[in-house]
Amino acid sequence: MDTSLITDVTIFVLSLLVGFEVISKVPQTLHTPLMSAANSIHGVVIVGAFLIASTAHDAVGYVLAFIAAVFAGMNVVGGYTVTDRMLQMFQHRPAPAPKDASTDGSHS
């Protein structure tokens, strides 16, 4: 049997296990950003788009590579951007300090 297939399957299964272990610890609060982050990670398929472009030498190959590049580019850039946008909402904002400052003078 093909040794590289065995290696690939081994890595696949181990990665699945790592994934289950790591992701089961993510709290429910963050499940939407988690899914969005996972979405961005599968954007790594852009690497595949690059590789098929590197071997394309005819119109069919070029068209396929082009569409794959559009899809994957959208996936990667959009995914990371929107995940970051969501996660910023979960960051602690500084307490509304300006309010205190404005009342300083008026109460004296």
């Binding site: 696949f12 982050a37 961005s40 599968h42 690059f50 590789l51 394309a56 994957a72 580019g73």
Partner: protein, 490 residues
Amino acid sequence: MAPLTASVLGNLVSPSYAFDDAITLILLLAATCFVLGLHLMNAPPTADTGNRLSALGMTVAVASTIALIAHDGTITTTGWLMLAVGGVLGSGIGLYLARSVEMTAMPQLVSLFNAVGGGAAALVAIADFVRLAGITHEPTIAARISVTSVLDVVIGAVTLSGSIVAAGKLQGMISSNPVVIPGGRYLNVVLGLGVCAGTGYILSGANSDLTLIGIAIASLVMGVIMVMPIGGADMPVVISLLNAFTGTAVAMAGFVINSLGLIIAGALVGASGSILTKLMADAMNRSILNIVAGGFGTGDTASVIGAGATGQVRSVGADDVAIQLAYAQKVIIVPGYGLAAAHAQHSVKELADLLEKRGVEVSYAIHPVAGRMPGHMNVLLAEAEVPYQELKTMEEINPEFPRADVALVIGANDVTNPAARRPGNAVSGMPILDVDKAKSIIVIKRSMGHGYAGIDNELYADPKTGMFFADAQVGLRAITAAVKTLVGVD
């Protein structure tokens, strides 16, 4: 250099092992970033660092791939051009969507990214297969390539069309009701058999790229037939499931082109999607098979409507609600999708702030399927700057309901129905929020309309329950105004 025989990466046939090994190690570094990034998402304060680490890994992966193909030198100028134009165009669209999307529309966007991810993975396999089939002196394509190619194409194409249908349903462009396609199930069986036959033909040694394209088209149709009959309430499960599919498709693409980065990343996403699918299905007490086979209301349980639930309901006004809330010690807010649909997140936060200023303890009870995707309600409330510490899961909040003076239910329905504790109805066995155990219950709702399950909510007929018939946004503003008048908070 010989034409790349087995894989595009062609690690083993490339003249320079050292360079390729270095690239493989760099991809391992990227994969490490992905895992650590996901690990950092186990708590809200570190989650954004995690995502940025993951993005860094992605940048490294892309940069090293560019270095690899430039070093290989097989890419043509047109190839570069396709990548550059396609990549920039795709990134631009992605960036625009990510920046402009409203948080309520997040499930559609995630679905769309699932679709393009799955589609790109399928295209990778198709392109590689077409190329291999075109190499005439290659007698047969190795089984490990053709089997994974078919799997990649099937899963990727089902995800592509299925996710687009799901996004269309979420966006309201396609009816969110279960749309039963006449004979759809039979057609799916026929298509499935066709895919199997095509796979057999390819495995028999026919380098037929047309067969693979036929399989892709059949899979696209299967994706549509699969998602069309699924109703809006099941969307959290469907999105999670399609997310797992995309991950698997990407991993299969990794097998096809022998790229460890794709295999690892795909497996991580597959794991994430599977966990979320399981959590969502459990939260609705439904099996995944049951959901894919047909949505709520299409089953035969709809006729067994709970008895006596249509009894008298007590209607209350904004002033009554304001008095109850203002003099409560502990208030639990139960938000449902109706809250988000009315864009009332900010109004609820304003009311909560007002109550907290008076020393009322406010927390939010979030059912796992509140919203249209896993954790959706949390994001909607986080957008309105509700501190995430106040967002409680079902397990955390249920023991607290008996201590709550008021449970304020806004736009949530089936997940609060006590009928779920009894067998024999459409929501039986579904884990619910124990809202009925609170000392007093206020429900803000536009009408006595049913939830997705299509049955009466017995909570509404509870003597402790006051129904405030209003749009969530309008109702909350009225209550807030009434509280202000009542207690004279400026």
